[in-house]
């Protein structure tokens, strides 16, 4: 029980990060309870909030819910907490009483400043970037997908890429079949798993990447190539450079996309139209 409670506490801390928003919520609840006891927002939201918090922290209910939704995502129960309505309602209750328009406007700006100070700007947190494709995937992914489709023509092929490129390839172009995806998901056995580990290794060994790719007949590899030496290592394994996109290079095994054919393409039904 103690262990579950400690785990729950970690989820709670992670949910609020290093922000002061949790305290904003606490003060809002106290303000509503002390000064606006008979308001609808207090009567309806606060008891519900209390029930959710009890449910979240109670080890018995936590254990039950964790069994249902999984331990690692238990923090999602906090989505039930009406943090935004409570904070906004409490602040509005305070602000609406100000009769002088100028003072009220100034206080609203102050409230916004308090929110900004308590939290962290969503843009400042580095969540967005500009890209040059409508699908809004990394530009390298768009370029590689266009390159590989042009190079392969109508041939069936398999492609392998690292954890940066891989997740977005089939978002951009679902006609491309992959050896594995993000974190090696959907991988086709030990060989594919090995290639995933090699292609995402902290220090790349291009001879190993090329050798494993060749062994499992992976038609295309997308890798970061910092210099000529590493290019040669891949070429020694039979891979040829097709082109580059940003920091990434596309390599093909053999002279064309159908120079080799992985038995995987025949063993499984592939969703190729």
């Amino acid at each position: 029980m103690k262990e579950i409670f400690q785990q729950t506490k970690i989820f709670w801390d992670n949910y609020w990060g290093k922000s002061l928003v949790m305290w904003l919520l606490v003060f809002s609840i106290l303000y509503l309870l002390i000064f606006r006891r008979h308001k609808k927002s207090t009567k309806y939201l606060i008891p519900y909030t209390a029930v959710v918090l009890i449910l979240f922290f109670c080890p018995i209910s936590a254990k039950f819910i964790q069994k249902c939704i999984g331990k690692t995502v238990y923090w999602r129960v906090l989505w039930l907490l009406p943090a935004i309505p409570v904070i906004a309602a409490a602040m509005t209750e305070f602000l609406k009483e100000r009769k002088n328009k100028g003072i009220q406007f100034g206080l609203v700006l102050l409230a916004i400043a308090a929110i900004a100070y308590s939290g962290r700007g969503i843009y400042a947190a580095g969540n967005y970037k500009l890209v040059n494709n409508y699908q809004q995937v990394p530009d390298e992914v768009a370029a590689i997908c266009e390159m590989v489709k042009k190079d392969a023509g109508d041939s069936e092929f398999l492609l392998a890429a690292d954890n940066y490129i891989g997740p977005y390839v089939r978002v951009y172009d679902p006609s491309i079949c992959m050896m594995f995806n993000r974190e090696g998901r959907g991988n086709a056995g030990a060989g594919a798993r090995r290639l995933y580990l090699e292609i995402n290794a902290p220090v790349f060994n291009y001879t190993n990447i090329g050798a494993v790719g060749k062994r499992i007949l992976c038609n295309y590899l997308v890798v970061k190539i910092p210099n000529e030496q590493q290019k040669k290592e891949l070429e020694n394994q039979g891979y040829q450079e097709v082109g580059t996109a940003g920091n990434y290079s596309l390599y093909r095994l053999g002279v064309s996309a159908d120079a080799v054919r992985s038995p995987l393409l025949d063993r499984w039904e592939w969703g190729v139209k």
Binding site: Y48, I112, P174, R185, W268
Partner: protein, 342 residues
Amino acid sequence: MDMVMKGVLALVWLAVVPAAAGILFTGKRQLKFAEIFLHGYLLLFAMMEILVLPMILLKMPLHVLTAVYGSLAAGFAVAGLLLWKKKNRNKNLRKKMERPSIYFWMAVVVILLQVLMCAAMAHMDADDCFYVAAATTDVHTDSIFAVDPYTGCEYRILPRRYVLSPFPVFLAVVSQLSGGLHPAIMAHMIFPVIFLPMAYMVQYCLGEKWFSGEKKAKDIYLLLAACICSFSGYSVYNAGNFQMVRIWQGKAVLASVLLPYLICLCISMLLEKQRKNSWTALLLANISCCLLSSMGIILAPIMTGCFLAVSLVMRKDWKRVGKGLLCCLPSFVLGIAYILIG
């Protein structure tokens, strides 16, 4: 088809059709536009969930689902418009609008900036390799959850975690209905334009509950709610963050739109003296949560359950509690299925 034309079609299917379908919920009461729009989505999401599940099991092609969903949604929209025409036949539609306060316009500016940022700029989320790729894969193969979006090979067994909450299929269907607009473009550029304002429609409805008849207070509430979301970059777990960075994923719509709206509905149905909504809305909201995410299957009944407990203490009305429990029945059924297959 021209990109602009596809965009217009997308807005028809994602804005006009839900708004028109939502009119069916108005009944005798005069509902606000936000409520009508949200109810329209409840109807369409619930309908999608009910249609998709058997079609996945029957391995039906996507075009069949697209045709059935499109026909039914269009049918609801036409019925809604006819009802609206019938109701307003003898009414003067030029109702005097209340002049919004400066706070309302400030809120509109904040929300528009958010929409612009989300639609015009990219947020890289590796979860897209399932949520968006499942839609692109379904469109490409004309199938429903038959092909693994990670690799492109056929599923040997269905993905247990996702099969009961097929929101990517909704993305695939509306992409098809919008002249074949690429699902990634639909998800990253069109969905934020619809779902972000929807999240604030929910906040507007909540503001209406707390500050009924106080126009300026409602506007301040909306502005503050929008600001709180703008500054939710403090962790990657909170609902505001999900709303701002990945609103195209089902779980983000669940956290920022459906669960807050469920709060609104539960207050209406279970806590307020006079019920202001229909039980159907609560039922559809629970089913809609199931479509969006497997979390929705579990979280929606938990939330309804919390309100039922408060209602029991506050109102001591067993009838309401009984009806509330019945509304959770689809979630219970899917929840048991989720646990059994999970």
